[in-house]
């Protein structure tokens, strides 16, 4: 088998077109990775600076009422994962900054797609585009004639007569092309790792990317070689593998994606907001002194502090009401956003199941996941930003309630010393070890396809296909 692989390589490197194309691919990949990293670090620097600027503004707030500061709020900027430069995943279409303020959970805004026509239409040029579409297509063009050429020139009879089995020949030809795809992948990964940090987390993610892409390239090259062996001629083999590739990369993802949205539909933005508003209205209205639930809370605190009026309370009841309102709002948000979160999780899970029929779906899911740019990672950021918003607003409401002011004293102010004491927002992306469970199904389906095609070649090829 080694002889066949070496021979295939010897012939490939003597083919000028192949050499030119390889140079083109290697340069393209290096350029795209390099540009991606520069773009990523520029964006990251911009966001870090923006986050620092927001913090600086917060630290230097003029003396003001804590509740006014809660409305002033803060901002959370979504940091780019280091591997965003390889696969942007959904980052281009989701926003990257979220305003954090009292009473309300704002949506994340300012997606890149909303600010650029070309990004909204074509997406960004990342190495994943080359690794997922262009290189597999090139591998197909290298593999589709690997056996049918031998058949058409009658060299196959001679090869078989020299003692090589049909199965071994198919595997050897397929492996020689797979090694080429793997080499391009490794060049990309090595260049990527040379230019970014030496964080073990990144290396772990890169190793998983090698496993995923390596498996997919094996599937593509083996299937193309199998078609090349089984079908009558080059044209049939190329048509069959291209039809499969188009089905996997264009039709099935769309069809399955639409089906998933029908099976697990998300409420529309209008319906989501209306349901939130309705449920929220059942809680305390922090700014309405005639609200019945506020009255009940007031009586509770008057009883607790054994006083007759709010003015006699040693605390500021307005701060208590605000926090109560906030906590009720949080429950409503958790319920509705939690429902959306579950639907999104279900959608992702069901989409991942399509890997049983479509290894490309598994590759895409794994690639985004391991680059930290998929829905799971995005939802994690939203959750952490919301957690921080709650901590921030609670700190302000507690200061309002217990900081020394009296109920109704809206003119009471705290100075910047207090604001500086409130911890700023910082986000650490989840570790892949904690998230791997989400992507096991993708890896398993890719391995299932590797086994399936290996068995297909092993069991379904013999010397009869020579004639």
């Amino acid at each position: 088998m080694i002889n066949i692989i070496l021979n295939e390589w010897k012939m490939l490197v003597r083919n000028r077109v192949f050499i030119y194309l390889t140079i083109f691919f290697v340069l393209s990949l290096i350029l795209v990775v390099w540009m991606g990293i520069i773009q990523n670090s520029t964006q990251q620097e911009y966001r870090t600076n923006a986050q620092k600027h927001v913090r600086k503004q917060w630290d230097n707030l003029e003396a003001m009422n804590p509740h006014r500061a809660a409305h002033y709020g803060s901002y959370a900027f979504k940091p780019n994962n280091l591997l965003n430069s390889m696969d942007g995943g959904i980052n281009d279409i989701t926003g990257n900054v979220i305003q954090l303020e009292g009473h309300v959970q704002n949506e994340i805004v300012y997606s890149e797609a909303s600010q650029s026509l070309s990004i909204s239409k074509f997406g960004k040029l990342k190495s994943s585009l080359l690794l997922q579409y262009v290189i597999p297509l090139f591998l197909i063009f290298l593999a589709y004639g690997s056996i049918s050429n031998e058949k058409e020139t009658q060299r196959l009879k001679l090869l078989i007569f020299q003692g090589i089995s049909m199965t071994r020949l198919i595997f050897a030809k397929s492996l020689s092309i797979w090694i080429y795809g793997l080499s391009l992948l490794l060049i990309t990964i090595v260049f990527q790792s040379l230019l970014i940090s030496s964080d073990p987390e990144v290396f772990q993610r890169l190793a998983l990317l090698i496993l995923s892409y390596g498996s997919y390239y094996y599937i593509i090259t083996s299937l193309a070689t199998y078609f090349s062996a089984r079908l009558k001629n080059n044209t049939s083999a190329l048509s069959a593998i291209l039809a499969t590739w188009i089905l996997w990369t264009i039709f099935l993802p769309k069809i399955w994606g639409n089906a998933v949205e029908k099976i697990h539909p998300l409420p529309s933005r209008m319906a989501f907001k209306a349901a939130m508003k309705e449920e929220r209205s059942k809680g305390i209205d922090g700014h309405n002194p005639t609200d019945k639930r506020r009255e009940q809370l007031k009586n509770k605190y008057l009883t607790e502090y054994k006083v007759d009026s709010l003015q006699q309370l040693p605390i500021n009841f307005d701060g208590i009401v605000m926090q109560e309102d906030e906590e009720y709002g949080n429950l409503v948000w958790d319920k509705h956003f939690g429902n959306n979160y579950n639907i999104l999780q279900n959608q992702k899970g069901l989409y991942q199941v399509s890997g049983l029929l479509n290894p490309f779906a598994s590759l895409q899911s794994a690639s985004m996941g391991f680059c930290g740019t998929d829905m799971i990672h995005h939802l994690d950021f939203l959750k952490k930003a919301e957690d921080y918003r709650r901590v921030l607003i609670k700190a302000l409401n507690d200061k309002h309630a217990y900081g020394g002011s009296k109920t109704g004293d809206w003119g009471w102010k705290v100075d910047s010393t207090f604001f500086r004491s409130v911890q700023g927002f910082s986000y650490n992306a989840p570790k892949i070890n904690d998230q791997i469970g989400h992507y096991l199904i993708d890896i398993l389906f890719l391995l299932w396809w590797v086994l399936l095609i290996t068995f297909l070649i092993k069991l379904n090829t013999n010397k009869k296909i020579i004639l």
Partner: protein
């Protein structure tokens, strides 16, 4: 002399059409047998059965007593096969092609030994290291025979080997085959080239509609007589 190639009463049909009908022939060591027939007469089907790529409906074919259908892997070790067009790898030189195909049989020859095989088959030293994309058909045939020679095959199956060769190359091929047979090889050559078969072979069989209609020693007939016999059988 020992019968090395043996075909006994084989019949083969494709979708109801009989390609080979009760065909029997034998080739001994040191013998070159010419299977002469028109296109579609069944020559290639016979070769494919002997190569083990086709299974006869009835009868059996064997090489050195080994059934080519049931013991394909054992039988092929003894066979050198040269097709009408020996298509080598164009980006490799003659010697690289020979080296590659030899390694597939588990034989690892030195460059010197590989060169000797090519020389024995009449390929000039100057061509050994040239890419085969520059070779003529005759030169490729020589490399094809060198591949069989390096495999140490004792049986040669040739399917229209002289087709498309110029007279000089064709003559060289005949000489080479006669040399191999003199060293003990058994050769079966399917062809429709009456002159080349008469010049090369010891024995000739005429095949028509899958059946062997006439067998003769070459010494019994001149080229003209063979042509007349062939035409007579084809017209009847």
């Amino acid at each position: 002399m020992k019968n090395v190639i043996s075909v006994q009463n084989i019949t083969k049909s494709f979708k109801g059409l009989t390609a080979i009908n009760e065909l029997s022939l034998e080739v001994s060591t040191g013998e070159i047998y010419g299977l002469l027939g028109s296109n579609g007469a069944g020559k290639s089907t016979t070769i494919n059965i002997l190569l083990g790529f086709l299974k006869p409906d009835s009868g059996n074919a064997s090489i050195n007593g080994i059934d080519t259908t049931s013991s394909f892997n054992d039988a092929r070790k003894h066979i050198g096969y040269i097709s009408e067009n020996v298509n080598l790898y164009p980006y490799l030189s003659g010697i690289e092609n020979l080296d590659y195909f030899s390694k597939l049989t588990g034989k690892n020859y030195s460059d010197k030994k590989l060169g000797e095989f090519l020389n024995k088959c009449g390929l000039d030293n100057s061509a050994h290291h040239r890419r085969t994309e520059t070779y003529s058909k005759g030169m490729r045939q020589k490399v094809g025979i060198a591949i069989a020679l390096a495999k140490e095959a004792k049986v040669y199956l040739l399917d229209e080997p002289a087709s498309g060769l110029d007279p000089l190359a064709s003559n060289e091929l005949s000489g080479l085959l006669r040399k191999l047979s003199s060293e003990g090889a058994a050769i079966l050559m399917a062809s429709h080239d009456i002159f080349r078969v008469r010049e090369t072979c010891n024995r000739i069989g005429i095949i028509k509609n899958g059946a062997l209609v006439k067998e003769m020693d070459t010494s019994e007939v001149s080229t003209n007589e063979l042509e007349n016999i062939y035409i007579e059988y084809m017209q009847n």
